[in-house]
């Protein structure tokens, strides 16, 4: 069994599915000989050839539109945006075509494609290489939006994303690409695309998060435990469609909820979870819902970026506020 990092799990899933299904192709900038700027596609072109691992001209509109065409005609493309900050030119093709094709044609055509992109801040990168923009996609009907936070979830969810009959945006938290290794069997077992994962059981407060922030949130749960506070930690993993039931069940138990994400606060995906709690869990709550998020600013260049990103300290403080309130 292989001990792999999150990014190695991505490579493993791609290789597995390409071997299993000849209609799977990978395309993007530098994905071929170079194996991707983060090495996510390393070795794939050697193994599967230039027709299935395609270095494209440098144009995101081209990559995204060709992906729609490939998918609508029987291929299963996995397109790479080199960074989440360069996915914007792809959005027209994603929103206007990938997400609408099935609906527009009453099911005659569909777009079973995946768009992968390294995502999020905290790696000391230049401008446009550190954004969290998942909320721009969760508001687009017809898409699935997935954000794994561990090697095994990256493997299982990417397999599921490729096999899914509809378009999937698959964001990879680059800050934890190589954070740790985990035993991940290359067994082709997909994970479900519509469940949240409870990473830690607790009784006093529910901490809900996704992506790289899972790291800080688990650390915050440790810090809270040291003070006798029992926190449950949920990794949302698939933001759209949302498994609200798992979050609701937890909040029924704890009565308190802190949502953590690194995207800006206003209209971030935390707002959706908070709204559902207000709609469906009002009488289970003992305290106002708290959000620990990025500010409503651009993530600053890296000298200040850690002051923007949610910290363990901010999460602990928010959890304590929910306890103080009741």
């Amino acid at each position: 069994m292989a001990q792999v990092t999150l990014i190695e799990a991505v490579t493993m899933a791609l290789a597995h599915e390409m071997a299993r299904d000849p209609s799977v192709v990978v395309l993007g900038e530098d994905v071929g000989v170079n194996g991707g700027v983060f090495r996510a596609t390393v070795g794939l072109q050697e193994k599967f050839g230039e027709l299935r691992v395609i270095d494209t001209p440098l144009d995101e509109t081209t990559i995204a539109g060709v992906t729609v065409g490939l998918a609508a005609q029987g291929m299963k493309p996995v397109a790479e945006a080199q960074f989440e900050g360069f996915i914007y030119p792809m959005m027209e093709q994603i929103a206007c075509h990938a997400a609408r094709m099935r609906n527009r044609t009453r099911g005659r055509l569909s777009v079973p494609a995946v768009w992968r992109a390294p995502w999020g801040g905290g790696i000391h990168a230049p401008e446009h290489h550190s954004e969290a923009n998942e909320h721009l996609f969760t508001n687009i009907p017809g898409l699935r939006v997935v954000l794994p936070s561990s090697p095994s979830r990256a493997y299982g969810l990417l397999l599921a994303a490729i096999r899914d009959p509809d378009p999937v945006i698959f964001f990879e938290p680059k800050r934890i690409y190589r954070q740790y290794k985990e035993e991940v069997p290359d067994d082709g077992e997909a994970l479900p695309l519509d469940v949240c994962f409870v990473l830690r059981d607790g009784t006093d407060v529910t901490l809900v998060t996704w992506g790289a922030q899972v790291k800080e949130t688990l650390e915050a749960a440790d810090a809270l435990a040291a003070e006798g506070i029992s926190a449950e930690v949920i990794d949302v993993a698939t933001l759209k469609p949302l498994d609200f039931d798992t979050i609701h069940e937890s909040v029924k138990k704890t009565g308190r909820c802190v949502i953590v994400h690194e995207a800006p606060r206003t209209a971030g995906f935390g707002a959706e979870i908070a709204a559902r709690l207000a709609e469906q869990a009002m009488y289970d709550l003992l305290a106002p819902v708290e959000r620990v998020t990025g500010y409503d600013t651009h993530i600053p260049l890296f000298r200040l970026e850690m002051k923007y990103l949610p910290s363990v300290e901010r999460i602990v403080a928010a959890a304590k506020r929910t306890l103080a309130a009741s």
Partner: protein, 359 residues
């Protein structure tokens, strides 16, 4: 058979790799040897600056940095041809052009060192655009600037630079297309350094030259030896003069080579051969101009040594100034979002400050 259109693309070169003339009709500006020495000096200082930048990155004092090694003729050629009132919309590598326009090395270091203040441009034209990391986007800004000049009847030119890879992007096509349709004073320089990170030039397009894209848009188009500063400068001078006098825009393809890694985060040995790089060094633009200047008795080893020492001292001063720049306070991330901070955000700003003070 009737022909709807035919075209050819001129290739312009004055100096061969050894610095020997390949033609006789040298442009007028080359007679001013003091000026030619000035161009050479900036090419050298750009290279010294570049070496320093990489050393800074390697010692953890700078973030990811995109080297300009090998592009000195192209970049200085572009910067030196422009007037101060013209507008430059660069991507992220054209330091030689920017230094000529007054951008300070310490500003470059600040930006790539993770501090927005690098874009302040204390001495360079305030109207120049900042670095544009999303490939190609700056070309449309230049087209917009050119449109503004046309609307206001100003004799100014907008210049954008773009890579061979970037010339595949819709933004580039859109920019030259509107420039052709509207007869805009736009000069788009494709700095073709043969590589877009790991992707070679042949993968970008089936077209024989990148310059010919300009013809499709209705612009003038020329390919130049991008390691021959005389050729770059002549093409720029002509293009700027045409644009300034309302005769239309130009696409210049400057053929050069990226001698270094794509950035400090890249390792080019993964995708290109040492032999290819070694061969490219024989076309080194700095060596070429030096040889020509020496043949004119305008430069020698002693001057070279003295100038390099001067550059080292200059860069040391710049590095020190950079390293001494204190980080911005946490509220800096709020302070330039809007002309005036909305009340809704003022609260977040206060929270950020309070958190910083440990409340």
């Amino acid at each position: 058979m009737s022909i709807a259109a035919t075209f050819e693309i001129e290739y312009l070169q004055y100096l061969d790799p050894e610095g020997k003339p390949v033609r006789k009709d040298f442009p007028e500006f080359t007679r001013d040897l003091d000026h030619m020495v000035e161009l050479y000096k900036l090419m050298v200082s750009t290279r010294v600056f570049d070496t320093k930048s990489i050393a800074l990155q390697r010692t953890g004092k700078l973030g990811t940095y995109a080297s300009c090694l090998g592009h000195e003729a192209a970049h200085v050629g572009i910067g030196s041809a422009m007037r101060r009132e013209d507008v430059l919309a660069p991507s992220y590598r054209e330091y030689g052009a920017q230094l000529y326009r007054g951008v300070q090395p310490r500003e470059v270091y600040l930006y790539w060192g993770g501090d927005e203040r690098g874009n302040d441009f204390q001495n360079a034209p305030k109207h120049d655009f900042a670095w544009s990391v999303p490939i190609g986007t700056q070309c449309l800004h230049a087209a917009g600037a050119a449109l503004a000049f046309k609307i206001r009847g100003e004799q100014r030119v907008a210049v954008c630079t773009i890579g061979d890879g970037g010339s595949s992007k819709g933004d580039f096509y859109g920019a030259i297309n509107i420039a052709g349709a509207q007869n805009l004073p736009l000069v788009a320089v494709i700095v073709n350094n043969q590589w877009a990170i790991s992707v070679p030039r042949r993968i970008q397009t089936g077209a024989k030259t990148l310059a010919q894209k300009g013809l499709a848009a209705g612009l003038f188009a020329i390919q130049v030896d991008g390691n021959d500063i005389i050729a770059v400068r002549k093409a720029m001078d002509d293009a700027l003069a045409r644009a300034r006098s309302g005769q239309g825009g130009t696409v210049i393809e400057a053929v050069t080579y990226r001698l270094g890694d794509h950035t400090t985060a890249d390792d080019a040995r993964r995708y290109r051969s040492e032999a290819e790089v070694k061969e490219a060094w024989t076309r080194d633009p700095v060596k070429r101009l030096r040889a020509w200047l020496e043949s004119k008795k305008a430069w020698d080893a002693k001057k070279e040594e003295a100038w390099k020492a001067e550059c080292e001292a200059w860069m040391d001063e710049e590095v020190n100034a950079y390293l001494k720049t204190r980080a911005q306070p946490v509220e800096a991330m709020f302070d330039y979002l809007y002309a005036e901070l909305p009340a809704d955000l003022a609260q977040q700003r206060e929270q950020a400050i309070a958190l910083e003070r440990g409340h």
